[in-house]
Amino acid sequence: MTISHHPPEDLLADFAAGKLEEAHQLVVGVHVAGCARCTRFVRAIEQLAGAALEEVEPVPTAPDAFDRVMSRIENSPAASAAPPPASAADHDIPPALRNYRIGKRRRVAPGLSMRPIELSGSGKARAFLLRSAPGSRMLEHTHTGTELTLVLEGSFSHEGGRFGPGDFDYGDDEVEHRPIVGDEGPCLCLVAMTGNLRMNGLLGRLIGPFVRL
């Protein structure tokens, strides 16, 4: 798998620092897990963070903090490698998502369906898996917020190039998209989105209200 589109560096640094909201953390995390180049970058930021931890002004912990941790250690069973809850036969779903509850598939438009990913609700962005049929041409749209997209299977292309498995696409409200899905098969993407899609053109305005994305 050759990855040619990566998240911008500041997004990776925010990811390494744990600053991203949940949906973004998820999408960037799945990209990083499959990308040696971005893994290196994230680890470099983690090393810098480790150095910051060493240098920071210490703040005394509660007087009984150590005793409390020791008693937790003594009273907890030996760490067991609990197998992750298996969502069996969901070949759709990459390993990084296996711990998440994923909702039922829902048709959004012809050739387009989505499965919402259940998040804690700590952030504003939503995350979902988006599946589009081969060769389909998505409606021209802009975003009212930001959209992070990671290709899991298949491909799509737009003005910014071709995006295959592992590729990361960053869209904000300055970007106009009209992605075309590759012919080789359906395109499965992991998407984090704030705001809403805004369909452009008459057709978009007509069907916009029915496309619940």
Partner: protein, 218 residues
């Protein structure tokens, strides 16, 4: 600057178990007062192999107050920071066997645990606000999860350390303030006494430089 150099001051164990040190130049004024050189990675190893409580206590006394300090700097309340510090040290005990000194410094590894626990805490809070019952949450994805085999991880570690050393002191400082201490750009401008535009461009340059150095010879 100093910070970046100190991160390297951990033993790097080759796979054969040999220990060699990346000799880092010590900057003048690097430490606040005389500090004995402690091999934190070795202490974590003793916790892993012997459940060594004395080693754990030393780790606790060194890192717990620093985790609390860093979390407060990054915007946590004192109570949250205390909880994260205690949970992190509890996790250090339980996960000590997973620490690999060949691929990460002790402080960086402990930082990643604290970071993930903070993420968990924020999500748990959001979820319990929303629902009555607190359900089991998925672990935060672990970005330290290696994409490659062990050998290339060790090579990567050396490359990462070399890359960090090549950042200037000023670049390291803005990256730390912006991403790790989570300060807004205008605040950083005030702290460093430089224009806002300089803060932004310096962060951008630091990011690009780090990426460029890491990409060399790939």
């Amino acid at each position: 600057m100093i910070a970046a150099i100190r991160a390297m001051d951990v033993p790097i164990r080759a796979e054969a178990g040999l220990t060699r040190r990346f000799e880092a130049q010590r900057s003048i004024g690097a430490s606040k007062g005389p500090k004995a050189k402690v091999d934190w990675a070795d202490l974590i190893g003793r916790v892993a192999s012997h459940r060594d409580r004395e080693a754990f206590k030393r780790l606790f006394e060194h890192f717990a107050p620093r985790i609390k300090g860093l979390m407060q700097k990054a915007g946590c309340s004192p109570d949250e920071a205390e909880e994260i510090a205690q949970n992190t040290m509890f996790a250090v005990w339980r996960k000590a066997g997973l620490f690999d000194p060949a691929t990460a410094g002790a402080a960086a590894w402990i930082f990643t645990i604290a970071r993930n626990l903070r993420i968990d805490l924020l999500r748990r809070r959001a979820r319990s606000d929303r629902l009555e019952a607190v359900s089991e949450l998925p672990d935060a994805p672990d970005p330290a999860e290696p994409a490659d085999a062990a050998i290339s991880r060790v090579q990567d570690a050396a490359r990462i350390e070399a890359a960090i050393k090549q950042l200037s002191a000023e670049q390291t400082m803005v990256v730390r303030l912006s991403f790790i201490e989570e300060k807004a750009h205008p605040e950083i401008a005030g702290l460093l006494g430089i224009p806002l535009g300089t803060v932004k461009s310096r962060i951008r340059l630091a990011m690009n430089r780090l990426r460029d150095i890491l990409d060399e010879d790939t």
